[in-house]
Amino acid sequence: MTALLELQDLKVHWPGRGAGWGNAVPVTRAVDGVSLTIQVGETVAVVGESGCGKSTTGNAALGLAPITDGKIFFDGRDLSLLSKQERRDLWQEMQVVFQDPVAALNPRLTVARAIAEPLVIHGWSAAHVAKRVDELMALVGLNADQRDRRPMALSGGQRQRVVIARALALSPRLVICDEPVSALDVSIQSQILNLLLRLQRELGLSYLFISHDLSVVRHIADRVCVMYLGVIVEEGPTAEVFARPQHPYTQALLSAIPRPDIVRRGRKERILLQGDLPSPLAPPKGCPFASRCIKAQAACNRSRPPLEQRAAHRLVRCFYPNSV
């Protein structure tokens, strides 16, 4: 079966600061060889800490970040071989929901006009637009009397519903969700997560779900890719990875989640990492995680471990992973 989205060895390198002064241009290797696939109806999460390249990966798939190397296939079609018009048509099938609905919405447009915008751009007639906007508002749980409100008159959760309705206007097949609930109040997050799950069931959507919130990812994703310094260090079915993480970084990440559970109190099983993420301007030659890894050996600094299959559907980039 053809994957809906496939990234093949994707690289995004940005010119770093100090470029153009006669020195060798430093390069930020934001994404340094990421391969992943998303099937129809599947949710794949990309997790990792700030600077790991998870958002850049999503932006590159959307055409919002220049690709240095690698290929992107949507429904089997190589994006780099498409004409401008074909790419534009394709963007109807791939939409995005960003973290901050305030920044994503024009404060001067009413709810109805914000949702209608993609339809208008794609030349829908006024009558069709009005009908579709009503449909979409009902779909995401907005009341009809909110049609003429402006974003500032809405709550955070309602604004994110508007952003989701707008993303769904042209019936995309893939929605890239970049931290879609991180800016929302805790009591509102579950409403939006339930909405995303329901929309997926009803519309057969696929999600690329980018998040730093591991509890949310555990709840919503079928598969998870853990990124560190521009590369995937572990990938697998979400339940498997969370139950039996094999990469030392995944283990540290999962152990660091504060759990709302008093039974665990006083039993600190956290793996505390020393130091910070190395600079993506000068990533280490060996394993990118070696400088903070509690298991690192000499070999880890000599060469970079490949992303290898360690069990059914499990890929791990480590010379000394935990066996399952």
Binding site: E49, S50, S155, G156, G157, Q158, D185, V186, S187, I188, Q189, S190, Q191, L193, N194, L197, H212, L214, S215, V216, R218, H219, I220, A221, D222, T238, A239, F242, A252, L253, S255, A256, I257, P258, R259, P260, D261, I262, R264, R265, K268, R270, L272, L273, G275, D276, L277
Partner: protein, 317 residues
């Protein structure tokens, strides 16, 4: 005697009430979490304790006592005397809270010098020691660097060092790890817990993360709509929450041991803004237990171990 006692505190912006009758106390060496969503009044409560309420915000009622002495409405001079020495604060955004043009060592040493505790050179040595204690590698060299040369996690540790160098008796931490990654967050939380234990520093920790509350705090105070709705020992509140809001909040959080992709429990409606607070109980419009009784504001009842402001609390199972 409590180290900090807040009694019936109310804060308004003009006619608009933002905090309405908060009562809270902290003992020496205790970690108390102040939990709430946006507009709950948790940050304003904390800012009023350290005397940093912004322009246009006034304390309209209540009392704040620190170490037995009332200082609410104290002269600015008296406030400045204890702020930074007995009372310190860590903010959410380390980068915007540090002076970008001042070496970090000097920023850490500043409060010692300002309070005339030590000479400038002794303060510098103390700052380097403190940077070492909060886990800044190579502190002697780092002390000369500017905030922009450090990562976000390191800047947060610098701010903690600056807050703790004068060995305050109370540390107020306003979402100290929200801007940080989870592995760095774990380092910072462990650091705060260790310092509280070793130095007997009391901590008022403001957070919206119930996971942090469960792992860090001794007691918790849950705020909604400018009021305390439930407070008491963390064990009591997490094992048997009595206020419907607390109970629902704990149920909405996705958990690592729950079945994935199932519908999560959701609290209906939205967090009301202070302009739209309902009469009486402010949670009633989102509550499944509300009745006409809730048109009158409930008061906190119960004992020190567990207090709730609700006419229809969940009974203990």
């Amino acid at each position: 005697m409590s180290l900090l006692e807040i009694t019936d505190l109310a804060i308004s912006a003009g006619d608009l009430p933002l905090v309405d009758g908060v009562t809270l106390d902290i003992q020496a060496g205790e970690i108390v979490a102040l939990v709430g969503e946006s507009g709950s009044g948790k940050s304003l409560t904390a800012l009023s304790v350290i005397g940093l309420l912004g322009e246009g915000l006034d304390i309209t009622r209540g009392q704040i006592r620190f170490d037995g002495a009332t200082y609410l409405g104290a002269e600015a001079q008296d406030m400045a005397r204890i702020r930074g020495r007995d009372l310190s604060m860590i903010f959410q955004e380390p980068v915007s809270s540090l002076n970008p043009l001042m070496p970090i060592g000097a920023q850490v040493a500043e409060s010692l010098i300002a309070h005339g505790v030590t000479s400038a050179s002794a303060a510098k040595d103390a700052a380097i020691d403190m940077l070492d204690r909060v886990g800044i590698p190579d502190p002697k060299r780092r002390a000369e660097q500017l905030p922009a040369e450090l990562s976000g996690g390191m800047c947060q540790r610098v701010m903690i060092a600056a807050a703790l160098i004068s060995q305050p008796r109370l540390l107020i931490a306003d979402e100290p790890t929200t801007a940080l990654d989870v592995t760095i967050q774990a380092q910072i939380l462990d650091l705060i817990a260790d310092l509280a234990q070793e130095d007997g520093t009391a901590v008022l920790m403001i957070t919206h993360d119930m996971g942090i509350v469960a792992e860090m705090a001794d007691r918790v105070c849950v705020m909604y709509g400018g009021r305390v709705v439930e407070q008491g020992a963390v064990d009591a509140i997490f094992s048997a929450p009595r206020h419907p809001y607390t109970s629902m909040l704990l149920r909405t959080i996705p958990r690592l041991d729950h079945p994935p992709k199932q519908e999560l429990f959701a609290i209906l409606g939205n967090v009301p803004s202070p302009k739209n607070w309902p009469q009486g109980c402010r949670f009633k419009t989102r509550c499944d237990r509300q009745s006409t009784a809730c048109d009158i504001a409930p008061v906190l009842t119960g004992d020190y171990h567990h207090r709730t402001a609700c006419f229809h609390p969940l009974s203990e199972m």
